[in-house]
């Protein structure tokens, strides 16, 4: 198997942030959006898979090393040991979010060390933020989730849904374009001047 550090082009003693940045840069480069209707799309996809695997490989290696060093401090019996698989843990958080217990879900999410935050983590965080109405931050999280796991349809559709909803609201204004806008503006200014002198010169704008 190829060396995951080599795939991402980082040294073995790179910091978590350096690795994350390297991964993100590569993910941006190979992102399917860049290869829409491109005959090389399949190659880009292969590359993407490669760096995804490498990134999660490094995360796993580092999580294992870290958990060996210190206790995670998460005192819910069944989840004390989450060195290997997070699946169960994330399932529980999903359940909490669905039940509307966002504060609790957020608390659990925040117990995961930054270096171990994967696509699912970012997606769930995004869901919590979205429900809170923090749409800008939510989009940032969904975007990160999409970069980390570009094949996941759920992450992508979360981002698309926000765009769609905003678009649906925004069209109101797009339709209401005044064709005479320049004339209107001129008249408005003229109107303001006239108003200063105590009279309205027009009632159009």
């Amino acid at each position: 198997m190829t060396d995951p550090y080599k795939v991402l082009g980082v040294s073995r003693d790179a910091t978590d942030d350096e690795i994350k940045k390297a991964y993100r840069d590569l993910a941006k480069k190979y992102h399917p959006d860049n290869y829409a209707n491109n005959p090389l799309a399949d190659i880009a996809e292969e590359k993407m898979k490669e760096i995804n695997t490498a990134y999660s490989e490094i995360q796993k290696i580092r999580a294992a090393a870290e958990s060996g060093q210190k206790d995670t401090g998460f005192d819910d019996g069944s989840y004390t040991d989450y060195t290997g698989e997070y699946a169960e843990f994330y399932r529980k958080i999903r359940f909490l979010i669905n039940a509307g217990k966002n504060a609790e879900a957020d608390m659990y999410l925040n117990t995961i060390p930054i270096s171990n935050r994967n696509a699912e983590w970012n997606f769930l965080k995004g869901c919590i933020l979205r429900q809170k109405g923090w749409i800008y931050d939510a989009q940032k999280c969904f975007e990160t989730a999409c970069y980390m796991d570009s094949a996941n349809a759920e992450y992508r559709s979360a981002l698309d849904e926000i765009r769609k909803n905003a678009g649906a609201y925004g069209t109101n204004y797009d339709n209401a374009v005044c064709g005479w806008s320049d004339l209107c503006r001129t008249l408005c200014i003229a109107d303001c001047c006239c108003e200063c002198l105590g009279n309205d010169c027009c009632r159009i704008c």
């Binding site: 940032k140 975007e143 909803n165 905003a166 209401a176």
Partner: protein, 280 residues
């Protein structure tokens, strides 16, 4: 305040625009009456929107009378009479203006700081006159939270916007209870958050040049920002739809501002930013 909350005049009926104007003029007059002469200078479109929503919340309509405007004093104009709603909005305007100037003094340097200090001392009288120490305390607490977040460097755009949202939520909901309070809170919160985003985008270039704090100084995603701002408005709009809709002109004005005026303003600000980016 900032004056981002505007109507899209082209789409208003003439009588609706006249109505809006008379509330605007009425608020200006109320500012002079319940604060002081200088109080009129704190007049802003944002506060007119507050007045419209407070009328709808309190299920009242403005009474329009004829009064003289000091500039120019030749002719009488239709103005909303100074009532509970406009007095409240004047007081809020005084409070917010003082806090804005206070912020300028804290951030400012040299001549600008001196200027702000002078203005702040004048606004101090308005603040005293406004009273409502409970609301004042709530605003101060949120502003402190904001400056702490700015200093820590850990504030995300949304967490910063939330302080502004909470400020306007308390302003919109002040003195109300029950269902009305919840609706007012939601409207205020989303409008406050939207204003924070609008102001941040508007000031981005200037802040970067002068090395001042801006939530987007390490990069803004214009598309995401547009989406976020539109969805704030959608949420505010949904909340407004739950208000009693007797005064049909007040309704039409609310809709015009939330669905046309504010999206247009956001678009202008974001486009301005994009063009400035291209010019660099």
């Amino acid at each position: 305040m900032f004056g981002y909350v505007r109507t899209y005049t082209e789409e208003l009926k003439i009588r609706e625009n006249a109505y809006y104007q008379s509330i605007y003029c009425g608020l200006c007059r109320a500012l002079g009456k319940s604060l002081c002469k200088e109080g009129r200078l704190s007049l802003s479109y944002d506060m007119v929107f507050l007045a419209i929503i407070r009328y709808r919340l309190e299920e009242k309509t403005p009474e329009i009378g004829q009064h003289r405007c000091p500039v120019p004093p030749f002719r009488k104009k239709p103005m909303a009479e100074t009532d509970g709603v406009l007095s409240y909005c004047s007081a809020v305007s005084g409070l917010l203006t003082w806090h804005k100037l206070d912020d300028d003094v804290k951030d400012g340097k040299g001549l600008k700081k001196l200027g702000s200090e002078l203005l702040r001392s004048a606004a101090g009288r308005m603040r005293k006159k406004a009273g409502m120490s409970d609301l004042d305390t709530a605003l101060t607490a949120e502003l402190e939270k904001l400056s702490e977040l700015e200093k820590s460097g850990e504030g995300t755009p949304d967490s910063l916007a939330e302080t502004s949202g909470q400020m306007l939520a308390s302003v919109f909901a002040y003195g109300l209870d029950g269902e009305k309070k919840r609706i007012a809170y939601e409207i205020g919160r989303h409008i406050g958050r939207w204003i924070y985003f609008a102001d941040a985008v508007d000031d981005l270039e200037k802040d970067m040049k002068k090395g001042r704090f801006n939530p987007f100084s390490d990069g803004i995603d214009v598309g995401m920002c547009r989406n976020a701002m539109l969805l704030e408005l959608q949420a505010a709009s949904c909340a407004c739809d739950l208000l009693p809709s007797d005064g049909d002109m007040l309704c039409a004005l609310t809709d015009n501002i939330l669905r046309l005026g504010m999206p247009k303003k956001a678009d202008e600000l974001l486009k301005k930013h994009e063009q400035a980016g291209k010019a660099d």
